[in-house]
Point group: C2
Chain length 255, copies 2
């Protein structure tokens, strides 16, 4: 048995995702990153640029998980309200952070360049620590178990790398993918038996539709290498049996 | 003023999204579809293949929204538990639906073809109505204000078209996108003034990073055409003023 793993949630903030105008790629990137370092992503939520909604989601997610990662809403415009919402959620004030102002001053040298809008990006909940932004300078921040990052994917990705040292990872989940040439409906019952016989792994079954034919990707996941090996062998044996017994079944590549 | 608009939430069900193995494209597709028919998408959640988590999310989202759309977890394998979770959430039994069995029988003609696993796809919460699946036959279903659809994008998209006739849309939000050649930090303060002066529109500001230069997409949205036209003119006038007053500012394409 392994120790309980740290968990996480991602909170994506932005009307543009909910209108369908912008496709969110940040949550998928964070998901893959967390899987690599052994942190279980347990939930993703997307909420609009509405303070009450951000606060409610933050409170629910930070209470239920080891870490929460937010993306979006920390730029210089009127619709960037994430920092205020985080301050509200934590019950702290928000103020221009001296280090954040200094970072902006080094980049925006004259008072004309360091506009009022850009100075907004130095407004940080009191007690938070900054997350370095090597792309465009204006920092993210970290307060309690919440990491607040930009929405621009390139900036978010750079911030995430800077956050990694502050995270306590777990034992990474290993996975093996077995390509099954048959549809899920052909293998379902036998696969359920394998899953039941191998409780230390989880087996995900994902239909692939190409032209009019279904095949299946079977993803076997576990933190225990021996269990993973045993379950993979059982899945492969099961598929060999089906290939032999069902040869000629015209519905092998139906759903 | 316009009547209050119907609202919606999307619930994406599947470990594969949370592990980062599969990128969710369904929620973005549903988002764009709902925007076109005037339904406000208010939240997207992604939860794992865990019944308690599905039930809790379903209950929260269906209480808060006119409609809930779920994707994933209605196939023939052991990890497909969405139908059971929906039955639990609604407090109803689950049983093989005669019409669903008939649909499957027409496609899977012999008893060998209509496997136990495939028959699982006819298990539908009692009281639900079926959603036609022209791609692979096994239906989705609709109970209360919840529409339960497949996770395979092509099937989900076909089901969504079949669901449309059951939805009461609202006045669609119209949007105008203005390409701003400057970074958000240059326009932020003036933009906030325009936003404040035009309360019948929402103005979203989205930074675009290309090479090392920032520009901004400004998306002006409203259900009121006259308000949209007026706000768009105000945004364009604001940008013309900035272009004139700030010509030569070396930080115009910084963040």
């Amino acid at each position: 048995m392994t120790a309980p793993s740290p968990t996480a949630a991602v909170l994506v903030i932005g009307d543009e995702i909910l209108s369908g105008r912008t496709r969110d790629t940040n949550s998928g990137h964070i998901a893959a990153f967390l899987t690599e370092i052994g942190i279980d992503l347990r939930e993703i939520r997307v909420v609009p640029d509405v303070e009450d909604r951000i606060v409610a989601a933050l409170d629910a997610l930070r209470a239920a998980n080891t870490y929460v990662f937010t993306t979006g809403g920390i730029g210089p415009t009127h619709d960037d309200i994430t920092a205020d919402a985080v301050a509200t959620a934590f019950g702290v004030a928000i103020a221009h952070h001296p280090d954040a102002i200094e970072i902006l001053r080094q980049h925006y040298v004259t008072p004309e360049e360091l506009t009022e809008a850009r100075l907004r990006m130095a407004r940080i909940p009191v007690g938070a620590t900054l997350i370095d932004n090597p792309v465009s300078k204006a920092p993210g921040f970290h307060i309690g178990n919440v990491f607040v990052m930009a929405g621009v994917p390139k900036i978010m990705q750079a911030m995430l790398l800077n956050v990694e040292k502050e995270l306590t990872g777990g034992v990474p989940v290993q996975s093996v993918t077995v390509d099954c040439p048959f549809g899920e409906g052909v293998i379902g019952t036998a696969l359920a038996d394998v899953a039941k016989a191998h409780p230390a792994v989880s087996i995900g079954s994902y239909p692939i539709l190409a032209a009019r034919n279904f095949s299946t990707k079977l993803v076997i996941r576990s933190r225990e290498p021996a269990a993973l090996t045993a379950a993979t062998a059982a899945v492969e044996a099961m598929l060999a049996t089906i290939a032999r017994d069902k040869a000629g079944d015209s519905t092998l590549t139906d759903y």
